[in-house]
């Protein structure tokens, strides 16, 4: 499995919720994609030098395409939201280590917080033979995305909103933590803000279930050369900086110094 620089045609780019877009791009790299990996996309502007990393939200083997799901939060995503179908974007993929539960677990739980949920469909799709249950948390109904996509991939999807405007009321980690123990899952994959990881670490301190999380950091090259996207990891009793883009973005929660 190697990374490569490719040209991807935009197949669609549409708003799916308040300020949130889904973009589907063609690729010849579908077979190489693992859940949790990302793509580094060159924007069609000379204002921003750096590429923008997006998690590979989902992929379609028949259509030979992948999807990214992004919220418009800055100049880069603003530019991206105006890209039209048929435009060609340069992209390097698939990047990062990803996570492969196949052959290791029979039942796993996927937990997503806000835009962190965008990692989950690809993880679920690359979990053939593994029963996936999914818990999604959003600030409110207007920000809820990817539920339908995940329903087609998971045996159960539970949605929670902070204000109760949709699904169960409360933080998704609170909703999920009871069920993690009850439902007999063998591993948890979680993606969301750091505060969620802290909550999960506390909630599962006494539970012997491996929890994997996907980290995020400002990146430079995206391929492990520039050392700007560092995170503190403790392995074998020793703390050190690891590269989010190359050694991650998926790490074991127990190893991450939060």
């Amino acid at each position: 499995m190697s990374i490569r620089e490719t040209s991807c045609t935009v197949l669609s780019n549409k708003a799916v919720a308040d300020g949130i877009f889904e973009m589907e791009l063609s690729t010849d790299r579908v077979d190489d994609i693992l859940g949790g990996q990302f793509v580094n996309i060159k924007l069609p502007t000379s204002d921003t030098l750096l590429r923008r990393p997006f998690c590979l939200c989902d992929f379609d083997e028949r259509r030979k395409s992948f999807t990214i799901c992004y919220a418009v939060v800055g100049k880069g995503t603003e530019t991206l939201s105006h890209v039209k179908t048929g435009e060609v974007l340069k992209a390097t993929l698939p990047l990062g280590n990803g996570w492969d539960p196949r052959g290791k677990y029979s039942k796993i739980m996927l937990v997503g917080g806000g835009m962190g949920s965008a990692v989950l469909p690809a993880v679920a799709r690359r979990s053939e033979g593994v029963d996936c249950v999914c818990y999604l948390g959003f600030a409110d109904k207007s920000k809820a995305v990817l539920e339908d996509r995940l329903r087609s991939l998971c045996s159960e999807v539970v949605v929670a909103t902070d204000n109760g405007s949709y699904g169960r009321k409360g933080f998704v980690t609170d909703v999920a933590k009871e069920d993690i123990i009850k439902s007999g899952v063998e591993a948890v994959f979680c993606c969301g803000p750091e505060v969620m990881y802290k909550a999960l670490k506390r909630a599962l301190a006494d539970v012997d279930i491996p929890v994997y999380i996907s980290l995020e950091q400002r990146m430079g090259c995206g391929i492990g050369a520039c050392l700007v996207c560092n995170c503190m990891i403790e392995r074998d009793g020793k703390q050190g900086y690891y590269r989010v883009c190359k050694d991650g973005p998926v790490f074991k929660l127990s190893e991450v110094v939060l």
Partner: protein
């Protein structure tokens, strides 16, 4: 036509070198193209002991540029010598070991260590703070540029390139100081001291508060400084700062650079340095020229 250049007796098959800190030790980019396509590779900055570097965020984007504050994270010279040095020696490409220190003794020790390396040249990063001189960077005052260059030259058997900082009152004076210290060449410019802030939080974006600016936006500053140094010294110059195309390379050479480093562009375009070599080759072939004829050929007005 000729693309070969010679710096201090070391022959480069073309004048394109990847800049320190933007290319690791070549491993990641070798997934994209054969490293032998390049004229040279400048390693990630090495120090005597492993260095953890700064906490994140270490990068901020600005208009046509980036600001970084990695803080010299590296595995240390011994680790380099045991692993990357051996691997890089198998590649048909000139390797320049970039070294840094926190005091003069560090640089001397590094100069000696590099004698064991298979790297053909050494590049001195003198933009680091001198902990024994109140933290002022070695590269600021001409006398300290001369002192650190001479100290390494006294112990190191390989050609020494002193990498100049642009954050000084007169870069030509520092170029002359490097030459007086015995440098076999100079390279410039290192990054420009800079800051990026978030107006909402009123905080700097970088954990380190400030960092070094690089990328397309610094090219005009770098060109002027290369020209100033070309008129100040006789030793060869390696130019860098915002190079993104073969025409940028031509401009640097016309201002006096014998070779050119490609840095930030490696982040934007993983194939960037390779494509520049190919484009330059095509141009030089079409013009049936020798790239060495470009060096310092700037025609100034008045």
């Amino acid at each position: 036509m000729n693309l070969k250049v010679n710096i201090a007796g070391v022959e480069f098959k073309n004048p394109i070198i990847t800049a320190s800190g933007t290319f690791g030790f070549g491993k990641e980019y070798s997934q994209f193209y054969p490293l032998s396509a390049l004229g040279g590779i400048c390693t990630k900055g090495l120090t005597l002991n492993p260095k953890l570097g700064n906490p994140p965020p270490r990068i901020a984007e600005t208009r046509s540029g980036i600001i970084n504050s990695v803080g010299l994270q590296n595995p240390g010279i011994d680790h380099y010598l045991a692993e990357d040095d051996v691997r890089l020696a198998k590649e048909d490409v000139v390797v320049i070991a970039n070294v840094a220190g926190a005091c003069l003794e560090d640089y001397i020790a590094m100069g000696e260590k590099i004698n064991e390396s298979k790297a053909q040249m050494v590049e001195l990063n003198i933009s680091c703070p001198n902990v024994k001189a109140g933290g002022m960077a070695f590269g600021i005052l001409p006398e300290s540029v001369e002192r650190v260059t001479r100290a390494v030259k006294d112990v190191c058997k390989k050609p020494v390139i002193t990498k100049l900082s642009p954050n000084v009152s007169c870069i030509a004076d520092n170029a002359r100081a490097a030459e007086a210290g015995g440098a076999d060449g100079i390279s410039l410019i290192n990054t420009l001291s800079a800051m990026a802030i978030n107006y909402k939080t009123r905080r700097p974006i970088l954990y380190n508060n400030h960092g070094g600016l690089s990328g397309a936006c610094v090219k005009p500053v770098a060109l002027k400084m290369v020209w100033d140094c070309f008129n100040a010294v006789k030793i060869p110059i390696i130019g860098m700062g915002g190079v993104q195309s073969y025409t940028d390379v031509l401009e640097f050479m016309i201002c006096g650079a014998r070779a050119v480093q490609v840095g930030t562009y490696n982040f934007t375009e993983p194939m960037g340095a390779y494509n520049i070599v190919k484009d330059l080759e095509e141009y030089v072939k079409a013009q049936d020229m020798d790239v060495n004829d470009l060096v310092g050929s700037l025609i100034v007005n008045g």
